[in-house]
Amino acid sequence: MKKTKASVRTEVLDKYGRPVDLKEEGMDVQVEAYRIGGGFDLDIKIKKEPPKKHDRPIVLKATGLSIQFGGLKAVDGLDLEIREGELYGLIGPNGAGKTTVFNMLTGIYKPTFGRFFLCGKDLTGKTPLEINREGIARTFQNIRLFNSLTVLENVMVGLNNQVPCTVWSSMFRLPRHMKSEKIARERAHEILRIMGLDEYSDYLAQNLPYGKQRKLEIARALATNPKLLLLDEPAAGMNPNETQELMDTIRFVREKFKVTILLIEHDMKLVSGICENLTVLNFGQILASGDTHEVLNRPEVVKAYLGD
């Protein structure tokens, strides 16, 4: 039978129909198609190279990060090394100091000792504003949306620093203002669309259901165009279905926005499902650190979680 080569377009979609860039995953797909009679013969080769983790540059590095409240050492000597594109988990029992770490990394608290670096740049002691401009954005455990603004406006606040426009031009609606508003609006809609929130863009943020509020917090943080995204218990209060969807969203966000993600989570299914590496905190100190599945099986970690 005659076999002629046919040209095909390959596109890989995830289960929500969103395109996936396989190169980012360290995969390569080669498809050869031949026309045979009335049908096709497809020759699909999937090459998977394990991502060369240690080749990737370090995004966040923390050395000996510590903070003291009065006599209490809330975080004591934390070392972290997170590489580009990584999904990194920070776990530990309640009161272990996880959120305090986030508060230090975003400049809300000043570390008593230790330093941290974003892409090699020392950000220790910088203000939240400066740190955000350098590229760290976060969500909050107890949701902190701007409740009197709409969903769209919440995201547009995140875009504030990306659309330059003076007070004067806004006051008098000069062309500069119109242009920057248009860009901001479009970009905000795009982010909302990606997060599946676009249909709610005119709702007040406070009127969204809980799970969507958490997603909106992620959308708002992404709008600031971060290199590193800190998620504080993104799955808290979600049901298993929502958590599953959230896991896919987090993975998708990492690809689409090319961000590195550090997340705090109690839901072990989510942690073991998406985190490549983990650090376990207990009483402010590192209990274990390393590959997710290896760490989660260590006896001391099991003990800290389940008790004696």
Binding site: A74, N94, G95, G97, K98, T99, T100, T106, G107, I108, T127, P128, L129, I131, N132, A137, R138, F140, Q141, N142, R144, L145, F146, N147, S148, L149, E153, M156, V157, G158, L159, N160, N161, V163, C165, V167, S170, M171, F172, H177, S180, E181, A184, D202, Y203, L204, Q206, N207, L208, P209, Y210, K212, R220, A221, A223, T224, E233, A236, G237, N239
Partner: protein
């Protein structure tokens, strides 16, 4: 155009429509001779409405949008009235600016700038202080300004300002020989009100306005989202003070600029109008200014002597009831029924933003705070 689109357009222009409507009704009546100093509504009352609209909208920027309480707004107005008034007299007597409209515009800008400088200075503590402390600082500031201006005598023997302020405590007033605006002040004042509305409304609907409201809703979240808190607090205080100064310069052409006029009570009166109209609602600010100025003027004729303080009694009750109605945790159910929606930090008056009714199923979840 669909319904929501129309609604949006309507929302954008309703504020202008209100002011223009007032002008369209009153100006023909005024030129027809029906509206005069002895009629039901007087030109004086209209002037007062116009500069009150400016004052209330500018205070709303600080209280309603930024979410900080300023009790020194009358102080900014005093600065504008003082500087603007003296400048009016100077420009007229020295013959520098002959045209009375030009003169008033210059005085408004300079008076506004002078007030803005003070607004900037008062904005500096606002960077470190919040809530109660800041409110007291603004109050203290208003008193300091009054104390200083009360004792500042401008009475050179000769020159354009000779004899202007003989007794600082009782202040000064402009008249036609001292450069007072010689036109229909109320028309001019309403035009200024429209310009001020234009500026404030545009600003509040821009990225800057969103940032300012974000600070009110959640300062920590705003900071971590890259909103420059320092900049926006300063700019809000400065711009609000500028417009209060503009209103002051108008006032200098309207009545006596005296120590007693710009007391703490006046600051509260402006605050009452902001609260009644709804914090964060410019439409509310305009309507409540017009309404309260009207009622005030009418009551003044009826209530004399000590009964005049009935007005303050009503103001006090307005403040207390509005706050309990809109913020008491126990009344949350009632507010929901009335579709007011409860937002912490946002207190709505009669014209405040209504929240969109949502039919999304709410999943109640409590999260434990950590650390």
């Amino acid at each position: 155009m669909n319904k929501t689109g129309l609604n949006k357009v309507f929302k954008n222009y309703i504020n202008y429509l209100i002011i223009v409507a007032i002008m369209l009704v009153t100006i023909p009546l005024y030129f027809g001779g029906i509206l005069n100093d002895s009629s039901f509504v007087t030109p004086n009352m209209l002037t007062q409405m116009a500069f009150t609209i400016i004052l209330v909208m500018s205070l709303n920027m600080v209280v309603g949008f930024l979410g900080e309480l300023s009790l020194g707004h009358a102080g900014f107005m005093y600065v504008g009235a003082y500087v603007g008034g003296i400048l009016c007299c100077y420009l007229y007597k020295s013959g520098l600016v002959v045209q009375s409209t030009h003169r008033l515009i210059i005085c408004m800008l300079i008076g506004g700038l002078a007030a803005a400088i003070f607004g900037f200075i008062i904005g500096l503590p606002a960077l470190r202080l919040r809530g109660d402390y800041l409110a007291i600082v603004t109050l203290a500031f208003g008193e300091i300004v009054r104390g200083i201006l009360k004792n500042t005598k401008i009475d050179p023997a000769e020159g354009p300002l000779a004899g202007l302020i003989k007794n600082p405590a009782t202040g000064f007033s402009l008249n036609s020989s001292k450069g007072k605006f010689d036109g229909d002040l109320f028309i001019f004042a309403f035009i200024v009100a429209i310009v001020v509305l234009f500026c404030i409304q545009n600003l509040m609907k821009s990225k800057h306005g969103r940032a300012i409201q974000a600070i009110k809703d959640n300062e920590i979240a705003a900071r971590t989202m890259g909103v420059n808190i320092t900049y926006y607090k300063l700019i809000t205080f400065t711009i609000a003070a500028f417009f209060a100064g503009v209103a002051g310069a108008l006032f200098a052409n309207y009545s006596v600029v005296s120590y007693a006029q710009f007391s703490y009570n006046y600051s509260i009166e402006i605050l009452v109008m902001v609260v009644l109209g709804g914090m964060g609602s410019l439409t509310g600010s305009i309507i409540s200014s017009v309404l309260l100025v009207f009622i005030n003027t009418k009551l003044q004729a009826v209530l004399t002597g000590d009964l005049a303080s009935l007005k303050y009694l009503v103001y006090a009750l307005i403040l207390i009831f509005m706050m309990i109605l809109h913020s008491a945790p126990k009344l949350a159910g009632l507010r929901e029924k009335l579709n007011w929606g409860y937002v912490s930090g946002k207190i709505k008056g009669i014209f405040g933003k209504k929240t969109k009714n949502v039919s999304i199923v709410e999943t109640e979840v409590s999260s434990n705070e950590e650390n």
